[in-house]
């Protein structure tokens, strides 16, 4: 299916074998296969984690697969702060390779770098999943030590990104054009964030965009996960303390 691939049949067969060696989980179809791809890639390239995100990682998106159950959080960080290498890979339509966060090739993501570094991530390599001009998602690898990808590992990452793209696009076509339910379900992870966003928007009489920024700011300042902050708001009601006061105060100043 893929047109602009550079890998020969032999290399592709090798990559498929790596993925097939990974034991399948209980989950269904494509999400499970992508998770195995992430696992195979992270073992082969020797990094701590890999993820597949569909959509713009810092915006409307869903983390659909990860090398291990807890590893989704590495990709969720970009949504939590609204920026990062995977988001840039999506925006720029090219790989974004960061051998050391905070180093010279860091893309100036203050929020992302602080959060990811605190989580033990040092190097990040993000590859867009795209067919021509059409973008589907991003394949990202994370490592806890600084360093660039060797040419061989870079080739492996590019090939894995290619296989992930093919599988996503082909699964869609073979299924009569319906979205795989397991992919759709991946969007539910952030349910509470969206609910909290609606609550904060109403409570503060601000736009939804500003409400998300407020939530992100609060999570960042308090050093907590966005999802935890959102969950607390949803379960205990909206009490972000003096946010409203600060805001009104600013407005008063603006009017002066």
């Amino acid at each position: 299916m893929c047109v602009d691939h550079t890998a020969d049949d032999h290399t592709r067969a090798w990559a498929f074998a790596l993925i097939d060696q990974q034991p399948p989980a209980s989950e269904d179809g494509i999400v499970d296969w992508l998770s195995r791809l992430c696992r195979a890639a992270s073992q082969e390239v020797d990094v701590i984690a890999a993820t597949v995100t569909m959509g713009a990682p810092g915006d409307t998106s869903a983390v659909v697969a990860a090398s291990a159950p807890g590893n989704q959080r590495f990709a969720e960080t970009e949504y939590a702060v609204g920026e990062g290498p995977a988001n840039d890979a999506w925006m720029l339509r090219r790989p974004v390779l960061v051998p050391e966060l905070g180093g010279p090739q860091d893309g100036a993501w203050p929020g992302y770098t602080a959060t990811a570094t605190a989580d033990g991530v040092v190097a990040v390599f993000a590859f867009p999943l795209q067919v021509g001009a059409v973008r589907v998602g991003v394949f990202t690898l994370y490592h806890d030590e600084p360093g660039t990808l060797s040419p061989a590992n870079l080739a492996t990452c590019l090939l894995m990104a290619e296989l992930a793209t093919e599988r996503l696009v082909d699964s869609h076509a073979s299924d009569g054009g319906a979205i795989d339910p397991s992919l759709e379900a991946a969007a539910d992870v952030r349910m509470e964030i969206y609910q909290a966003q609606g609550m904060v928007a109403v409570a503060l009489e601000i736009s939804l965009v500003d409400a998300l920024a407020t939530l992100r700011g609060h999570a960042f300042q308090s050093g907590r996960d966005l999802i935890d902050v959102a969950s607390e708001i949803v379960h205990n009601g909206y009490r972000l303390g003096d946010d409203r006061h600060d805001r009104n105060h600013e407005q008063d100043r603006d009017q002066e």
Binding site: M1, C2, V3, D9, M54, G55, T60, S61, A62, Q130, V131, G132, A133, V134, R135, V136, T165, L168, V169, D170, H172, A173, G177, A178, I179, L183, E184, A187, D188, R190, M191, E192, Y194, Q195, A196, Q197, G198, M199, V200, A201, V202, A203, E205, I206, S207, L208, D210, A211, V234, Y238
Partner: protein, 238 residues
């Protein structure tokens, strides 16, 4: 017979077309025309297998090519079918000596005024997806180099088809996925907004949202959008 210069120009032109926003059928018709011009073949046609493996004519340089392809399908024999089933090119097959190979097609094609036939597979890894067929006069004879050039044309046709197919698939997937994500997000945001406004739980807010949608016989997403409209915009003093 095929000039290197002509060939180079043609490949550059075709590559340019592929990069642009191109119409596949138009592109393939153009490709058969160019193949005819460059090879000196009387008629050039391109056949593609459908998902059940049945060949169908997709593009041709003229009606004669189309008729010859239809004839092969009807008779269930001929160079194009051989090429598709074997995955191997049929080169410089002369109809006058091919009556054993194609007892019904060969005489029919000779009667239609053709003498030589050639077919090149459209290959994708291990799979053959179709064939590029050339029908000509006796002097249409390809050297090994020329055969490779025509095979490259068949490969371009394959690339063009796959490119379109994968781009279309990726586009639909992206659109539908973004659509599905967006409607989920909007519904959750609306649940939050209703919960906050009415002091109820998100679950009760969803029940309320759904009953609004049912009562007004509208889609849940549309009702959710309505709930969210106007949030954060300047309000009337009263």
């Amino acid at each position: 017979m095929i000039s290197t210069e002509q060939l180079a120009t043609m490949f550059v032109d075709m590559a340019d077309t592929l990069v642009d926003d191109f119409d596949t059928i138009d592109f393939l018709h153009d490709l058969t025309d160019r193949a005819a011009a460059i090879s000196g073949a009387e008629a050039v046609g391109l056949m593609l297998a459908d998902h059940r493996g049945r060949l169908q004519g997709l593009a041709s340089s003229n009606e004669a090519a189309r008729r010859l392809e239809l004839l092969q399908l009807h008779l269930e024999e001929g160079p194009c079918i051989d090429c598709y089933t074997s995955g191997q090119p049929v080169v410089n097959a002369h109809l006058s000596v091919a009556t054993d190979r194609w007892p019904r097609f060969a005489p029919a094609a000779i009667e239609a005024g053709f003498d030589s036939v050639h077919a090149f597979p459209m290959r994708l890894r291990d799979t053959v997806i179709g064939a590029l067929n050339l029908f000509g006069r006796p002097e249409t004879h390809f050297t090994a180099d020329e055969s490779r050039a025509v095979q490259a044309l068949a490969d371009i046709a394959t690339i063009a088809l796959l490119q379109e197919r994968s781009i279309t698939r990726a586009e639909t997937l992206t659109e539908q996925l973004q659509g599905a994500l967006n409607s989920r997000i909007i519904i959750e945001q609306a649940k939050g907004a209703i919960a906050q406004r009415e002091g109820i739980s998100p679950h009760d807010a969803f029940v309320s949202l759904r009953s609004r949608a049912r009562e007004s016989r509208r889609r849940l997403t549309d009702v959710a959008v309505e709930v969210l409209e106007g949030i954060g915009e300047p309000r009337d003093p009263h």
